[in-house]
Amino acid sequence: MTERLSSGHPRLDDLLGGGLPANSINMVIGLPGTGKTILAQQYVFANASQERPALYLATVSEPFDKILRYGQTLRFFDPEAVGHSVFYEDLGTLLNERGLAGVLEQVSELIKQRRPGLIVIDSFKALSAYAEGAEFREFLHDFAGRLSAVATSSLWIGEYGEDEIGPAPEFAVADAIISLSTARAAERETRMLRILKLRGSAFAPGRHAYRLSADGIDVFPRLADTLDITSYPLDGSRSSSGIAALDEMLADGYWPGSSTLCAGPSGCGKTLMALHFIFNGVRQGEPGVLATLQEHPTQLARIVQGFGWSTDEKGVELMYRSPVDLYIDEWVYELLEAVERTGARRVVIDSLTDLRLAAPDEVRFREYMYSLVQRFSRQRVSLFMTSELADLFEVRRLSEFGISHLSDNVVLLQYIREQASVRRALTVLKTRASRHEPEIREFRITPEGIVLGDPFVAEAADQNEPRGH
């Protein structure tokens, strides 16, 4: 297997099939402010050792002192390594006095003296201003030849846009190209990392969200799992919905690892149904994660308390995030981490409507939900999702996100108009690989939670009349 150069960030390395190939020429491109220098420094400190030091060569667009000054604000920056395993050199003066020939000579000398395992050129694009056409190509050939002649990896940093990849000859030389950019949707901006080229290795395609902090770049790989057709164990056990009468309608509950969509208009009882699901799981010894974008923890604690439960109960992990400025990429990894950490067997997402707003586009939202449903299913983690319907009385459309197709079970909650009052009704629309009672049943919200009543009779249903009334 090809030796790899780690970024020090496991998720970024995973995107690159294990890391950048060692002893290769790699380009990190992006407009100013996208974090190129931070990423380069991350590679430097993750790989530098006294035997294989890292060389950071500043040219003319990144002032040498600034690289060091801001570098020190990064948590992984180790001042004690500077001068021992990390060497910063300023090529700016040399470049201005002797041009590219001076750079070639100096880099050769530094390779001989320092024997580096990693060389960063920041900025490489600045070098192109010192020669044109054939002269720059000649320099490029010479430079790449020197770097390829010894076991060293290099990162060429440049303020290139993705549209420059075709015409600029340096991209043909590069073994890997990582692009950093910003995607804008309405007032939201999301940083996006994309691998445009990786010689001799598979990589994760598409745009992957990332954040910049003092810890460096934190990447959230796009969740786009491909179909996994390998089998996984199933047994005949069932997961109770937490509502006895509903379990009866579902032939004794849901399959473990199944996904359930609960759709209904505002205030109809979706969150309460989700709470039944979570707290019943806790009673059965199945820990759960309640991922809510709806109620603030204080509000939720009060609601939960009203039904005799507590959000402080052992086995319940509350993951509240405000839908404002939420990014689905990051949120999904937090959820996956919470499930792994707590050993959760049940997960509630309340609600998909809020989560959809956190996705830059519908395709990405569907990709994420498809992948989540698949992952949880294989882990036998039962998923319960709520979705808000705009129609209060006459439901015309169930789910605008296509999630009902993905879900194993679909439960519809709706209001039924009755003269001057409104009643609530529940219908199990779908249970995959299981029978269910296709009835419309009235339900009430009591201090014990949801209590199902009688089915509406056929004739009466037309008139919104339950049987026996």
Binding site: N23, G145, V150, T152
Partner: protein, 219 residues
């Protein structure tokens, strides 16, 4: 000469030769042959030549002689004007020669530099014909041969060099052609690009120690 200007403390001599300080002092008193100068504080200071005289004694002891006999031989050597001066560092007499047959001038430049800093003499040949000419001029102890040199005739060059009497052949290639290289008589194989430390340590493995140390122990 730089080597004669240097002086070494008793502790340094002890570390360099592995002879206890008390033994060295005892030899000085008993045989009076190696008599170092003294610092202002009265500490013994050995010249490089004196270190080499003690090394001469140590080597005789290692061969099974008694200290008295070893010192008698040392005395004879000194009477004959035996030269115990250490050669200048970096020039250990006729240095071990490495023939570097490498088609890539950049790779050749770096490999030559790394080997020279270890004290080896290096001649570079950028194609197989050039390597043959260099071979006629002086027989190298070791050859580093890029297998893709001159249209991929590196393995054949390896075989010819070994037949001509080159002690060891280190084959190098970007291709994982290890088996092919060893079948052609190469003694070791390294994949390119070369890591300087790995190159030097492999050469040392094949020749035994660095050129500096070889020069010192062979005297």
């Amino acid at each position: 000469m730089a080597g004669d200007l240097a002086v070494y403390s008793m502790g340094a001599v002890e570390r360099m030769l592995g002879i206890p300080a008390a033994t060295v002092r005892n030899w000085e008193e008993r045989y009076g042959l190696v008599k170092p100068g003294r610092s202002q504080g009265g500490h013994r200071l050995y010249t490089r030549a004196e270190v080499e005289q003690l090394r001469f004694v140590k080597e005789r002891l290692d061969q099974g002689l008694q200290p008295a006999e070893a010192h008698r031989l040392l005395g004879e050597q000194l009477e004959r004007g035996g030269n115990f001066r250490a050669p200048e560092e970096g020039q250990p007499g006729p240095r071990l020669l490495i023939l570097l047959a490498e088609r890539d001038p950049y790779a050749a430049e770096f490999a030559e530099f790394f080997l020279r800093t270890e004290g080896y003499e290096v001649v570079v040949a950028l194609d197989a014909d050039d390597a043959a000419r260099k071979l006629e001029q002086r027989l190298p102890q070791l050859a580093v041969v890029e297998l893709l040199i001159s249209g991929g005739t590196g393995a054949e060059l390896c075989r010819r060099l070994k037949e001509a009497g080159v002690t060891a052949c280190l084959a190098i290639s970007t291709l994982g052609a290890r088996d092919q290289a060893l079948a052609a008589g190469a003694d070791a194989f390294l994949e390119k690009p070369l890591d300087p430390l790995q190159l030097v340590s492999t050469v040392k493995d094949l020749l035994g120690e660095s050129a500096f140390l070889q020069g010192a122990t062979s005297r």
